[in-house]
């Protein structure tokens, strides 16, 4: 491997200036769990590495309307932090089921988003929670809904000079669940994962989110299935219909983890289960 410039700035302005200088020749390094294997196999050949672990972006704060999570907050912190457990239990669950302990200690929420894997555990939960990301560049910042962030496998709207600095998770009421099916129980990538959120108004479903992982080129919000539930009384029949509809919206592929056929079969069962289990969960109240 040829020599690579290594930057580890402590100021955000410094970091964005470095990105502006190197543009797409720079690779952003946080936990490194996705980047380093790519470097080792020469799948990416950056001229510069920008380490963002010294920018003070590892924190979880409770604002009046949202949780603010710093981009370099680790998966382990998400799994164990009391604010995440209280206000975003589905995110804590996704973090707990992600990778190994070693991976959880290194991998960051910003990295999970930026890597844009269709199987990203945290992203599936974050989409069900209506999260948005803050993107910073030398020329300014913008907030983008996570649902608008992904373009395809490992493709996002993130510009070469932009850095993910924060993730905002709105404090909204609802019952949530995250389920993941892998090829084994631990240290496994999702064959199919699902996150749901049900906002109930007595017997009626006021609003719903159904998100699938590993079932499309990007983590997928199943909007038609969500619409089926909205304003309706939740019954087992309706849940089955919604699950069938959610799978109809998906477009999984066959890969080394499973066939598309299996993903659809098991995915439907998983959506049903997530909706039913969410109903039994304690309601999150901001």
């Amino acid at each position: 491997m040829r020599e690579v410039l290594y930057y580890a700035p402590t100021e955000l302005t410094e970091a964005t200036a470095i990105l502006a200088d190197h543009r797409d020749k720079a690779a952003v390094l946080a936990g490194g769990t996705d980047l380093l294997p790519k470097l080792n196999y020469y799948e990416v050949k950056p001229h510069a590495l920008l380490y963002i672990g010294r920018l003070g972006l590892s924190s979880i704060h409770n604002g009046s309307s949202a949780l603010t999570i710093g981009a370099t907050t680790t998966t382990a912190d998400l799994a164990t932090h009391h604010l995440v457990q209280q206000y975003a239990p589905a995110l804590a669950q996704a973090a707990r089921l992600s990778g190994s302990v070693a991976i959880q200690n290194a991998a960051t929420i910003g990295g999970n988003i930026a890597n844009a894997s269709p199987a990203a555990d945290l992203v599936v939960a974050l989409l069900a929670l209506d999260a948005s990301v803050r993107l910073l560049s030398h020329s300014g910042q913008r907030d983008v809904h996570l649902a608008d962030f992904f373009l395809g496998p490992h493709l996002t709207i993130l510009q070469p000079d932009e850095l993910i600095t924060q993730i905002h998770v709105p404090l909204s009421p609802g019952k949530t669940e995250f389920l993941k099916l892998g090829r084994r129980k631990g240290q496994t990538l999702a064959v199919v994962s699902v996150a749901v959120r049900l906002q109930l108004d007595g017997d009626l479903c006021h609003d719903a989110r159904i998100v699938l992982g590993s079932m499309a080129p990007t983590p997928l919000r199943c909007r038609t299935a969500e619409h089926l539930l909205r304003g309706q009384k939740i019954t087992t029949d309706l849940i089955h219909q919604a699950a069938t509809q959610a799978i109809a919206e998906s477009s999984p592929i066959t890969d080394q983890r499973a066939t598309a056929w299996y993903r659809k079969k098991a995915g439907e069962a998983l959506v049903q289960r997530a909706l039913l289990q969410a109903l039994d969960k304690k309601e999150v109240r901001p």
């Binding site: 090829r183 084994r184 066959t254 890969d255 299996y262 098991a266 289960r273």
Partner: protein
């Protein structure tokens, strides 16, 4: 829906070869500080052969195990051993070790008898003390004293006290022309495995909820290691039964695993919450103190037991390994279609 089932398997595992010739050698040296350096060829790949061979040497010498240092540091310098395979080391190498110890004792007898101008046959061992029969009060030396004397002199004759030993199972003899009988292996170990599973009929996921494995090992030289071997076998067996696959079992050749990370072994989370093991001991005439190997056999028990348990749970015989969730779901669909 989750369906429970129970399945059982019985395993017969050959340990040590016969016809091919299956020798091992060992050497043991009395070191200047009174400890013993045991050289073996058997490779300890984590199975614990170094530990049990120390046990055998300590036992044969009548000294604490701490006095035995063992090394198999390099094939170029180690005594010959055919290898750590065929569950052969526990059956064969202890013979070589015990023979080497007897040889060392003979050398020590000769050296001590020479010092005392006595007959080597009158020299007795009592743990770390060596004495002249009938005159223990006046004619007695500890191993430390012998070691210092032989290695450093100081009034004693110099000596290099090393014993060597070798062993292999009885010679191969041609098959019996009348019966066709042919002794192909050194010994056989027997195992039994019972698995309880829960099959999720909607996702095809199989959870092994309880597993019992019992092995007849001749003599459990080190029960902790025997238990670890049984549980280690479960790891390999569960992977074989449920997750590990390579071409042609992947969806297509393009997805064949390229590196170890792609090769799916179970994790601790996949282990049965309830894991029971048992050890039976029927001393085998071919082994030192009745010991024989068994360890590879313990990976053979779980796959058929798990497959039988799946059959008990859902009424389908899975005839391909691994029984992945996809294989299970397809089998359930085929069953439904045929009904």
């Amino acid at each position: 829906m989750k369906k429970k089932g129970v399945g059982m398997s019985c395993v017969l595992h050959p340990t040590g070869n016969k016809g091919a010739g299956d020798p091992s050698q060992a050497a043991i040296q009395l070191k200047p500080d009174g400890t013993f350096a045991l050289l073996v060829g058997a490779v300890d790949i984590g199975q614990g052969s170094n530990t049990i061979l120390r046990q055998f040497a300590a036992d044969a010498l009548g000294v604490p195990i701490e006095k035995i240092l063992v090394s198999n540091f390099a094939d170029d310098f180690a005594p010959l051993c055919l290898g750590s395979f065929a569950s052969r080391v526990t059956l064969i190498d202890p013979h070589a070790v015990v023979n080497a110890v007897e040889d060392l004792k003979r050398r020590i007898r000769e050296w001590v008898a020479n010092e005392w101008e006595a007959n080597p046959e009158d020299i007795e061992f009592d743990g770390e003390t060596v004495y002249l029969r009938g005159d223990r009060e006046r004619r007695s030396m500890t191993m430390d004293q012998i070691a210092a004397g032989a290695n450093f002199g100081g009034g004693y004759n110099p000596g290099f006290l090393v014993g060597t030993g070798a062993w292999q199972p009885a010679k191969f003899h041609a098959h019996d022309p009348e019966t066709g009988e042919m002794p192909a292996v050194g010994a056989i170990s027997f195992g039994c495995c019972i698995a309880e599973v829960e099959v999720d009929t909607e996702t095809g996921v199989v959870d092994v909820t309880r597993l019992v494995q019992v092995w007849e090992v001749g003599k459990a030289v080190n029960p902790l290691l025997v238990r670890a071997q049984i549980n280690g076998g479960l790891h390999i067996g569960m992977g074989y039964a449920l997750t590990e696959s390579s071409y042609p079992y992947w969806p297509t050749e393009d997805y064949a695993p390229e590196k170890l990370g792609d090769y799916f072994m179970p994790t601790f989370l996949d282990y049965p919450p309830e894991l029971i093991y048992g050890i039976e001991e029927v001393p085998h005439p071919a082994g030192v103190q009745g010991a024989k190997g068994f360890s590879e056999g313990s990976s053979n028990g779980p796959p058929p037991a798990i497959i039988a348990a799946i059959h008990d749970a859902i009424g389908v015989w899975i005839d391909t390994y691994p029984a992945t969730p996809e294989v299970i779901l397809k089998a359930l669909e085929a069953k439904k279609a045929s009904e």
